[in-house]
């Protein structure tokens, strides 16, 4: 039952299984730990991508401020780690020992009140999940209630990204400013920079990413998923079918924020710092590009997209740094013009890759033709059961 809700067809299951295999077995076996850690970092953007599949791909809401939620999740984790790294013994050379170094440089003499809760790990974990969600819920409700949508929504989210990154930037004493929160070393006394920790964090990141991916697939395949698509395509009809469109949109916006926040937390754990340069307008737009390249309708596609684009970014910006931005812009244009459903769209039945592979399939399996989707099966089942219902009523009459 659950399986059928998660995977509508065999192809969907196989692609998710292949992704799992790639992330859990192939990459860790092939890559040295330094590269694996980089891939772990790329995958944290995959969280944002999964959220964008629901929000943008399915519900048609383009947010250019997902970096904000990624960043807030990250900051919540970073604040906890920073406080742990700032115990009075390590910071005894400061004029006020026991507070983070950047506060000391900015003449703060005690910990600001909103830092206090982050002394406790469970509170910090809860904040990673709740703060981005609550913020998105409030913002979303305010806008969707007023029927702000389309380009206007995109512009407002972009403005929010700018405001928040400038706000963090300009309050160095409270937030670490432009440098961000750096020098994070341990999590509950566990050195997160050791090789073993990097492996463990990579696998934890993959586990949660795949879990979020499954949750997204679950939602896509329930009635909620169909309502989201319906809102994207025919908002008025949904309203007159009795749904609260604003609430559905707010829900999916908040959910996308929650998933992005988890990604942010894993970013901090694997990379060891958080800064406003990771959450402003440019990174927020980059996140949309990852998703578009991978395929905004597909969970697997969005995760692959974050890997491909970031891998490209690392490779090309190492080799030819001045050309990288042009290359990324070009990729985005190519996606929009030639393959609007991204890499995932190319691999779908009927897509470019599958038509190329058709002859090989025919050779291997004797005959071609993709297996019928479970959607058709369901309708078959409906027909059969309803026929039998009809027959029973006939009999009872």
């Amino acid at each position: 039952m659950l399986f059928k809700t998660l995977f509508k067809s065999r192809a969907e299951f196989l692609s998710y299984a292949a992704l799992t295999l790639l992330l859990v077995v192939v990459l860790p076996v092939l890559l040295p730990v330094f590269r694996l850690n980089l891939f772990g970092k790329y995958l944290t953007y995959g969280f944002v991508g999964v959220g964008l599949v629901l929000l943008w791909g399915r519900c048609g809401i383009l947010s250019l401020g997902q970096g904000v939620f990624f960043g807030i999740g990250g900051y919540c984790m970073a604040m906890f780690l920073k406080l742990e790294a700032s115990d009075p013994i390590t910071t005894k050379i400061q004029s006020t020992p026991g507070i983070p170094d950047f506060m000391d440089w900015n003449q703060l003499t005690h910990l600001p009140f909103f830092w206090e809760p982050f002394k406790h790990f469970p509170v910090a974990l809860l904040a990673v999940v709740l703060v981005p969600t609550a913020l998105a819920f409030c913002l979303g409700w305010a806008m969707f209630q007023r029927r702000v949508g389309g380009v206007y929504f995109a512009i407002i989210t972009q403005a929010i990204a700018l405001i928040i990154s400038l706000g963090i930037d300009g309050n160095q004493g409270y937030t670490g400013g432009r440098n961000g929160i750096t020098d994070l070393r341990t999590l509950l006394g566990w050195d997160i920079r050791s090789t073993s920790a990097q492996y463990i964090l990579y696998f934890a990141c993959v586990f949660f990413l795949l879990l979020c991916g499954l949750a997204a697939k679950y939602i896509i395949n329930t009635r909620m998923g169909r309502v989201l698509v319906a809102i994207r395509d025919r908002e008025d009809r949904v309203r007159f079918s009795g749904y609260d469109v604003a609430l559905c949109r707010t829900f999916v916006f908040a959910l996308a924020a929650l998933i992005s926040g988890v990604g942010g937390a894993f970013f901090v754990l694997q990379v060891g710092f958080m800064s406003p340069s990771l959450i402003g307008i440019v990174p927020s737009i980059e996140m949309v590009i990852f998703t578009a390249v991978g395929g905004r309708l597909s969970v697997v596609g969005a995760i692959l997209g974050s890997l491909i684009v970031n891998l490209g970014k690392t490779t090309f910006s190492e080799a030819i740094p001045e050309l990288w931005l042009f290359l990324m812009g070009g990729t985005f244009i190519a996606v929009v013009m030639f393959f609007p459903n991204g890499v995932a769209g190319l691999m779908e039945p009927g897509g470019w890759l599958s038509t190329k592979l058709e002859p090989f399939k025919a050779m291997l399996f004797g005959r071609s033709g993709p297996g019928s989707g479970a959607g058709n099966e369901v309708v078959e089942v409906v027909k059969n059961t309803s026929v039998s219902i009809a027959q029973t009523t006939e009999v009872t009459k």
Partner: protein, 248 residues
């Protein structure tokens, strides 16, 4: 004459103005249960606007709309739907990318909240309902067809089917037979007759033959106001109505 409380819908001195232009003005309308009430009138008479006002798509500037004795003016659209009013639009408004089955399923009234949507299951009850409604609107053979490729008439029926899934007490149909063949019209008339056995229907239509066939009562609108009301024969004999339709 029944007491006001017995009306399914009672609209009193309803009015709306768009930048000073009064599209609907001083509109009074009472609807009994299980009746088919047709609104006719020349283009721009305000017929569609009246439906928009009742279903909350347009906000009224004056007057009251009582449904089952509850004021519904000013409620959000989805709340009016949940109260039991269904609306079919002039152009078939269906989900083209979903199958006929999914179109009907999404209109099922169970689980319209966020968590209701997540928990919604295709139970026997739901499947039975979908089948029954599909049979009513002659789309049983096409359940797994994508709605976008249906013929125009079938789209109209599908939308009516979606409303029937909602099981409303009041159905509002805006030009349900526009673009239909004669045979399709006859079938639609039969369908509306059948529907009105358990619920009231307000229909906007231009086709007089069709109106004659289905209407229990007719309201003629002109320039945002009611010109005449009564049985079809009554309004057809009204000199004011003849004036409006033929006079210029």
């Amino acid at each position: 004459m029944s007491k006001p409380a017995d009306f399914l819908l009672s609209v009193e001195s309803l009015g709306v103005s768009f930048d000073g232009f009064k599209a609907v003005d001083g509109f009074n309308f009472y609807l009994d249960r299980n009746r088919v009430h047709v609104i006719i009138g020349p283009n721009g008479a305000g017929k569609t606007t009246v439906l928009d006002l009742i279903c909350g798509k347009t906000k009224a500037t004056s007057g009251s709309i009582k449904f089952k004795d509850q004021e519904i003016r000013g409620l959000a659209e989805h709340k009016i739907v949940r109260a039991g009013i269904g609306r079919k639009f002039q152009n078939p408004s269906i989900y083209e990318n979903l199958t006929v089955f999914e179109n009907l399923e999404i209109s099922h009234p169970k689980g319209r909240g966020v968590f209701g949507c997540l928990m919604f299951r295709r139970t026997e009850e739901v499947l039975g309902r979908i089948r029954a409604v599909a049979e009513d609107v002659a789309l049983l053979e096409l359940l797994d067809t994508e709605a976008g490729i249906l013929s125009h008439g079938q789209k109209q029926w599908l939308e009516i089917g979606m409303l029937l899934m909602q099981d409303p007490e009041l159905l509002m149909l805006d030009e349900p037979v526009a673009g239909m063949s004669v045979r399709e019209r006859e079938a639609t008339a039969k369908l509306i007759k059948k529907i009105s056995g358990q619920r009231s229907v307000i229909v906007i239509e231009h086709d007089m033959e069709f109106v004659k066939e289905i209407a229990d009562r007719v309201t003629v609108m002109h320039l945002g106001k009611i010109l005449a009301e009564g049985s079809m024969e009554h309004v057809q004999a009204d000199p004011k109505v003849i004036e409006v339709y033929i006079g210029h």
